[in-house]
Every structure is written in structure tokens, then in C-alpha cells.
């Protein structure tokens, strides 16, 4: 009797083992799928990293500076250029561009996945209710935990970093897209119906344009989360500033750690401000639109 009680007390639910078995099963059953995904993601990353590191540092800094100027004005343009130049002075430009390539790659993929899911969730309560717990799971699971199965599926390096980043960064994109579309003035949507628009026309001509600021705020959040995750992705061998942080950490060196950390912050602030500006500007005002207008006139 006493032994039985002891057994019961020591028994635990082998959830972890089940998950591990499931992961094994997945990798053994669909090797071609994971190989394909690996090749695609790796190819995309390498193309982006080559593109960003191809111009000399100064040229790339100036390009980014001009983008900042167009998006937010001359103050930010000059400040941004100076801050980016600081990264270059720290001799961290190449890892910074690798990090940028990881971010751009994962953000594009996360956004392309998130926006349609958000739209579907906005249009159907069933989808919304099904998606919400999945998003909760993706957002609250400690990010390092994704990295473990990601290694199993994709090995060490860029790809598990990208996958973990996409999973971690996607939820606000879905949530804010859904919120934005649900918040569109119902009377305007009704006006669309009342003049005979089809649901697709209402989505394209009314809901998405009016939800754009909120959707862009979502994309902005996706970028911010991607940045924080991309550093952690250094743990699974993803290149970039994460590697610098990791090596500083493993050698307990304050100096290089601070330099790499500062570079991440500069990149983060730059990306945040530029994408936030793109979201709040409506289609008919703003520097980009003015520039477009001027170009159109010149033609």
C-alpha cells in the first residue's frame, strides 16, 4: 500500500516525452518538406544578406539615411545617419546587416502570413476564436523553447533562427490586422454594401485602406519582436549581432557586449521610427506621396 502511494506521488505526466516523440515523428515522416523549407529560407536570407553587405558601408548608411529622411524628415534623416555610422565605427556593420537581413526575411514572411489570417479572423468569429489561443501560445511560450524543436527540424544556423523569429513575431500582426478591420466604421462598410459592392471590393476599397494605420502598427510590432528574437537566435547559430552578443556573454566581456547591444538598439529605433511613420501617413499626404506626385508631374 505504502509503495503504491509512493509510486503515485512519483508519477508524472510525460508531456515532454510525448512532444519529443511527436517532433521525432515529424522529422522522420516529412524530411523532404523540412529540407525544402530550409533551402528556401536559407536562399532568401543569403540573397538579402548579400544585397545589404554588397554596397560599401558608407553608401548603405546613406541609403538608409535618405529613407529615414523621406519617412520622417531631415532631423531624423541626419540623426539616423549619424547613429548608423556609429555602428560602422564600432566595426559591427557587417553583423548588423546580417541581422537586418534576418529581420527583413522573417518580417516579410511573418507579415505575409499574419495579414491574411488577421483578415480571416476579422470576417469570421469562428476563425477568430480558433486563432486566438494559438496566438496566445506563440506569444507567451518562452522564445528559447522554440529554438529547441527548430534545431531538430532545421539543424543549426540561419533557418531555425528565422523560423523561431517568425513564430515569435507573427502574433501582433494577426491581432492588429483583425482589430483594425473590425474597427472600421460599420456605416462606411454598410454604405459599400448599399451601393452594391461585393465583399471583396469592400475589403480592398474600404476595410483594408481604413484599417491601414492599425495594420501598419501591427507590422511595426512584428519588426520590434523580430529584432528582440533575432538576437536570441544567435544561440542556435544564426549570424549577425546575436553572435556578437553571445560571444561577449560566453567570455563575460562587458565592452564588446555593450557595443553589440547598442548596435541592436540603434537598428531597432531606426526601424521602429521608419515603419511607424509609414503607418501613420495616409496615402495622399506625406513625403513619399509628395515625392510620388512630383515624379508623376515630371513625367
Amino acid at each position: 500500500m505504502g509503495e503504491l502511494l509512493q509510486d503515485i506521488e512519483q508519477w508524472r505526466l510525460p508531456l515532454g516525452r510525448w512532444v519529443a516523440q511527436f517532433v521525432d515523428w515529424l522529422t522522420e515522416t516529412f524530411p523532404a518538406f523540412f529540407e525544402f523549407l530550409t533551402n528556401v529560407l536559407l536562399g532568401a536570407y543569403e540573397a538579402l544578406a548579400d544585397l545589404f553587405t554588397w554596397p560599401p558601408d558608407v553608401v548603405m548608411i546613406l541609403i538608409l539615411g535618405v529613407l529615414g529622411l523621406l519617412a520622417r524628415g531631415w532631423k531624423f534623416g541626419i540623426g539616423g545617419t549619424a547613429a548608423l555610422f556609429l555602428i560602422s565605427l564600432l566595426n559591427l556593420w557587417e553583423p548588423a546587416m546580417e541581422t537586418l537581413a534576418l529581420i527583413v526575411g522573417s518580417v516579410v514572411i511573418a507579415t505575409v502570413l499574419a495579414i491574411p489570417v488577421g483578415i480571416a479572423a476579422a470576417r469570421s468569429d469562428v476563425v477568430s476564436n480558433a486563432v486566438r489561443p494559438v496566438l496566445d501560445f506563440m506569444q507567451t511560450m518562452p522564445p528559447l523553447v522554440y529554438l529547441i524543436p527548430a534545431i531538430f527540424f532545421f539543424g543549426v544556423g540561419v533557418v531555425p533562427g528565422l523560423i523561431a523569429t517568425i513564430v515569435f513575431a507573427m502574433p501582433p500582426g494577426v491581432r492588429l490586422t483583425e482589430l483594425g478591420i473590425r474597427q472600421v466604421d460599420q456605416e462606411v462598410v454598410e454604405a459599400g454594401h448599399a451601393f452594391g459592392s461585393s465583399p471583396g471590393e469592400i475589403l480592398r476599397q474600404i476595410q483594408i485602406p481604413l484599417a491601414r494605420p492599425t495594420i501598419m502598427a501591427g507590422v511595426n510590432q512584428v519588426i520590434m519582436l523580430a529584432l528582440s528574437m533575432v538576437v536570441l537566435a544567435g544561440f542556435v547559430g544564426a549570424p549577425g549581432l546575436g553572435q556578437e552578443v553571445l560571444s561577449a556573454l560566453s567570455r563575460v566581456e562587458i565592452g564588446p557586449g555593450a557595443e553589440a547591444g547598442l548596435s541592436v538598439v540603434i537598428l531597432a529605433i531606426y526601424l521602429d521610427r521608419v515603419t511607424a511613420a509609414l503607418g501613420t501617413r495616409s496615402g495622399t499626404s506625406g513625403r513619399l506621396a509628395k515625392l510620388k506626385g512630383r515624379l508623376a508631374k515630371a513625367k
Partner: protein, 356 residues
């Protein structure tokens, strides 16, 4: 043929609407079905709107008038009953024919304008035409024409956010006019506007209607507005139509205490006409008498407000004449005073009591 014919319309929100409709048909009260968690918004409503008529649905908020107008163009599906527009039953149409009906036969004007904030005034005005697939040139032309009709020429390239409330609603009106539909649904179209602007818009609508001869269903909670605009008025209360009639009919013979209470505050001198308060002449001989009994004359359709205004120049009694200068009746002092007293409310109550 009627432009719009509604018969036996019900709209019940909540659970088991079919069942609730059955109960209501069997005489259940609104309170009884509300206790089951159902909200009957429209109950057994029927009416016909003639081509070229302004038909006003008047009721307080929660009376079901907005639900009713949305069933006319299929934005809401009736729980029971039918809406016929141009011989077609709206509820029977598939999605595509319904969209066609909305874009080609019925346009709509909204309380809060419902303009697309990211499109220019001209693009908003031409919205219906874009949906119908007109090319840009045709859209721009018709859009400009419609903006011209509502007095907004020169504002084509502005955004709705740059316009005042009254101007926004003019764009809303232009959007409905540019669609070139025979029927216009106007849902509290002027309710969000300042009183002065509202008045201006009402005048503009009356003026446009003289030229364009649309069939208009106009929803309002403002009885003065209803009486100014409506050829006929349907008074709604708690989902039911309690009376349909011209403003004069409703003012002179309110169907029940509720309507009587409502019309108490209406400026009667701007609704009643000379013909409606006169004492008709008895003999046909008198009506052909060119001297009009020696009295000054007033046209039959003159509003009482104007009759009052002329009494300082033309002493009472006045002879009421029609377009052929035939005498129809006489207005004496007591007729004018009598007309100012609220529609013999006591007498009506007696009538109701004897009916009930």
C-alpha cells in the same frame, strides 16, 4: 404600380425568430416575446410607396425605422414578409442580383454620411459608378454633375475630412444622385446636422425632388422634418406602423393618443392649408359666383401661416378659391381659431372609446 411594396414585414433579432414571428401573429405582445430573449424590431409592417413620392417613416429611436429601411434594400433579411421593388421580391434575390438592385435601382444616404475618408469628394460622389464598372471619364462627368446639383462645384479634389458636416452630407446626397437610381433611401440623413443647415438641406431636397422626381423613403425622428418633406408619413411606434397619411391627415385625425401627443408641438400653421380649415360652400350656384360673396380671395393650397399674414391687408372672412377661380369655401375667424386647437383631442378619445 407601386415603386416599393412591403407586406407583412417582421424582423426579430435574437433566438428562434420564426417561432417569435408565429407568436406575434397569434397576438403575443412585444413584452411577452422580449421575455424569451427576442427583440422584435419590426412587427407586421405593410405599405406602398408610389413612384415620385417622398414617403417619410417617422418614429423615435428604437421604433424600428432604421431596421425597416435596411430591409428595403436587403441589408437586413426580413424574418417574415416580403419587400417588392419593381416587381421583384428582395428577399428572393441571390447575392449578385441583390448587388445589382442596390447599385442600379436603390441608392442610400446615411446619417453619419459614411464617406470614404481616403477618397476625394469626386471619387466619393462617383463611388456607385465605379462599382458598376463605368470608365473613369464617365464616372468623373456624372460625379461632377451630381456635385453641381448639390452646389459643391469646386470641391471635387478635397478630402471629406476637409468639409463641414453639411457639405459632407451634400457629398452623400451627390453619391446617391450620381448612381441615377429611381429610388433613394435616406436614413436620418439630416439628423446629425445643425438646425439651420438641416433646414437648408431640406429645402435643397424639396427643390431637387421637383426636378428629379425620385421615389424617396426618408427616415426621421423629427416630426417637423417629416411634415415638411413627406407626401405621406408612416408613424412608427415599437416596431409597428400606427398611422399612414398625409401630414394634414395625421394632424387633423391622429389615429391614437400617441400620435396626438406627438403632433401637439407641430407648427400647425405650416402644415394646414386654407382648404383644410374652410367651411365648404353648400350650393353649387355660390361656387360659380364671380364676386365670391363680396369677400377677398385666397388660394386653396395657401398655408395657414400665409393666411394669417394676409389678414392685415385682406379682412376676414376670406373666400377660398381653386385654380379656376371657383369658390370652394369660406374662412371665418372661428375657423382659424379652431384650427389652432390641437385636433379635437377630446373628440378623438371618444371615438376611440366607442371603437374599442
Amino acid at each position: 404600380m407601386a415603386a416599393i411594396r412591403a407586406e407583412g414585414l417582421y424582423k426579430v433579432f435574437g433566438r428562434r425568430p420564426d417561432d417569435v414571428v408565429r407568436q406575434l401573429r397569434d397576438g403575443a405582445s412585444t413584452e411577452e416575446v422580449a421575455a424569451q430573449g427576442a427583440t422584435p424590431a419590426v412587427i407586421d409592417v405593410g405599405f406602398e410607396v408610389q413612384p415620385g413620392e417622398i414617403f417619410v417613416v417617422m418614429g423615435l429611436s428604437g421604433s424600428g425605422k432604421s431596421t425597416l429601411i435596411r430591409m428595403l434594400n436587403g441589408l437586413l433579411t426580413p424574418s417574415a414578409g416580403h419587400v417588392h421593388v419593381g416587381g421583384r421580391d428582395v428577399a428572393e434575390l441571390d447575392a449578385k442580383s441583390l448587388r445589382q438592385l442596390r447599385s442600379e435601382e436603390m441608392s442610400m444616404v446615411f446619417q453619419h454620411f459614411a464617406l470614404l475618408p481616403h477618397r476625394t469628394v469626386l471619387e466619393n460622389a462617383a463611388y456607385a459608378l465605379k462599382i458598376r464598372g463605368f470608365d473613369k471619364e464617365a464616372r468623373d462627368k456624372k460625379g461632377r454633375d451630381a456635385l453641381n446639383l448639390v452646389g459643391l462645384s469646386g470641391w471635387e479634389d478635397k478630402l471629406p475630412g476637409q468639409l463641414s458636416g453639411g457639405m459632407k452630407q451634400r457629398v452623400g446626397l451627390a453619391r446617391a444622385l450620381a448612381a441615377e437610381t429611381d429610388i433613394m433611401l435616406m436614413d436620418e440623413a439630416f439628423s446629425a446636422l445643425d438646425p439651420l443647415i438641416r433646414r437648408e438641406m431640406q429645402d435643397q431636397l424639396i427643390d431637387l425632388q421637383k426636378r428629379l422626381d425620385k421615389t424617396i423613403v426618408f427616415i426621421t425622428h423629427d416630426l417637423n422634418e417629416a411634415m415638411r418633406l413627406g407626401d405621406r408619413i408612416a408613424m412608427m411606434r415599437a416596431g409597428r406602423i400606427v398611422q399612414i397619411g398625409t401630414s394634414e391627415e395625421i394632424l387633423r385625425e391622429p389615429a391614437n393618443d400617441y400620435v396626438a401627443e406627438f403632433v401637439k408641438d407641430v407648427d400647425r400653421t405650416r402644415v394646414l392649408t386654407a382648404a383644410s380649415v374652410m367651411e365648404p360652400v353648400s350650393s353649387p350656384a355660390a361656387s360659380t359666383d364671380d364676386s365670391h360673396g363680396g369677400y377677398d380671395t385666397v388660394a386653396a393650397d395657401t398655408l395657414l401661416a400665409d393666411v394669417f399674414a394676409m389678414t392685415d391687408r385682406r379682412p376676414l372672412p376670406l373666400a377660398v378659391v381653386d385654380g379656376d377661380n371657383q369658390t370652394l369655401g369660406v374662412i371665418r375667424e372661428q375657423h382659424l381659431l379652431h384650427a389652432m386647437v390641437s385636433a379635437d383631442a377630446g373628440q378623438d378619445r371618444e371615438q376611440e372609446a366607442s371603437h374599442g
